[in-house]
Symmetry: C2
Subunit: 209 residues, 2 copies
Amino acid sequence: MSKTPDRARDTYHVGNLAPQLMSAARAMLEEVGPVKLSLRAVAERVGVSPTAAYHHYANRAELIGHLAAQGFNELAAALADRNGHGQATETLRQSTLTYFRFARSNPALYQLMFGAEFSTGEMIPALLAARERAFFELRSTMAEVLQSPHDSPEVRRAARAAWSFTHGLASLVIHGVLQIPSNVTEERFFEGSLQGLEYLFKAGDGDGA
Amino acid sequence: MSKTPDRARDTYHVGNLAPQLMSAARAMLEEVGPVKLSLRAVAERVGVSPTAAYHHYANRAELIGHLAAQGFNELAAALADRNGHGQATETLRQSTLTYFRFARSNPALYQLMFGAEFSTGEMIPALLAARERAFFELRSTMAEVLQSPHDSPEVRRAARAAWSFTHGLASLVIHGVLQIPSNVTEERFFEGSLQGLEYLFKAGDGDGA
DNA sequence: ACCTGAACACCGTTCAAGT
DNA sequence: ACCTGAACACCGTTCAAGT
């Protein structure tokens, strides 16, 4: 009876504050966007003073850094659980589509993951590691598609290319530069964009280059 | 003698404050980045009170909105002055490389142009118009490459695809996700990435799809 | 060990003035 | 018409406390 308070009331400290701050931040992120997400507001949401957050995260950058790391870990997990058997084209299409869908499902998180909030070189190790994990999955997929070693130049370039294309498309859609017409599904839009690449390559074949 | 002061001294107002604020903002943008660029600091740089800026721009969003518009106009101009004669592959390569170089030459401006600072739908008309101009040039290039009408679905998809790929690559490099090795030129890096796409398409051809 | 309150520097923005 | 000064609300961050 004395250990667990029978009803919620103002407690001096909450206990596992760090994860609570994270989930509050995660929720607010999609509400207010990556730029306006403030440490003070996150603390207030949890019902704690702003300074309390500083006992768990060094500063705002570290807090949102962990948020972004969470995003990359989820992305890596999504890319990892592909079913490896299938034709090369199918594997490629499925993986990039998974990526595209992840970005569209978490637009603010995705913007944070690749946003300008993190000045180059000012990223926490957890974020860098998570990003590497996501990139590793992408390269594994490309190795599978090309049937080449994970470290070969071909696979490296293919991963770079696939990532650029998919990230670019996702960014432009999230940012509102490109709009998916209401009568077109996410999947068809994505495939139309892939076809655009084909057109360009065919045009290149035809001119004698 | 009375019209033009013989030496610079504290004048009550400066005259053409708007363009001065813009160029100060442009300079500071690449110094502090798109997130930390503040209206107050810009005003101070010009030597004017923060409130003075509000007589020329409605708020910070409008100020940086014009900055981003400037960026899109410069990008459009860079894409426009291509020499139209040449093989399709060459035209495509040159245009996308021009795009890539523009982004790399103005990293903070580029991040601002596509950044999360502008919540969807909160963009000034000048910015939307400038962005359309840039996109128009890209589509013109694709129409030339594909030898198809500017409004055809093929050209639309190709422009979307080319833009996604180039924007994605530029973003990842600027953000530091991808690093160009010091012994590799910008151009070779770009071409290596293009080759990555080819590998993937060839793999697709080979599997009987 | 974990949290609070007061304080500082900075920011965007507004409003009543000044020239 | 164009600019300033004081003020407000918000922010990140620090420091001296409290339990």
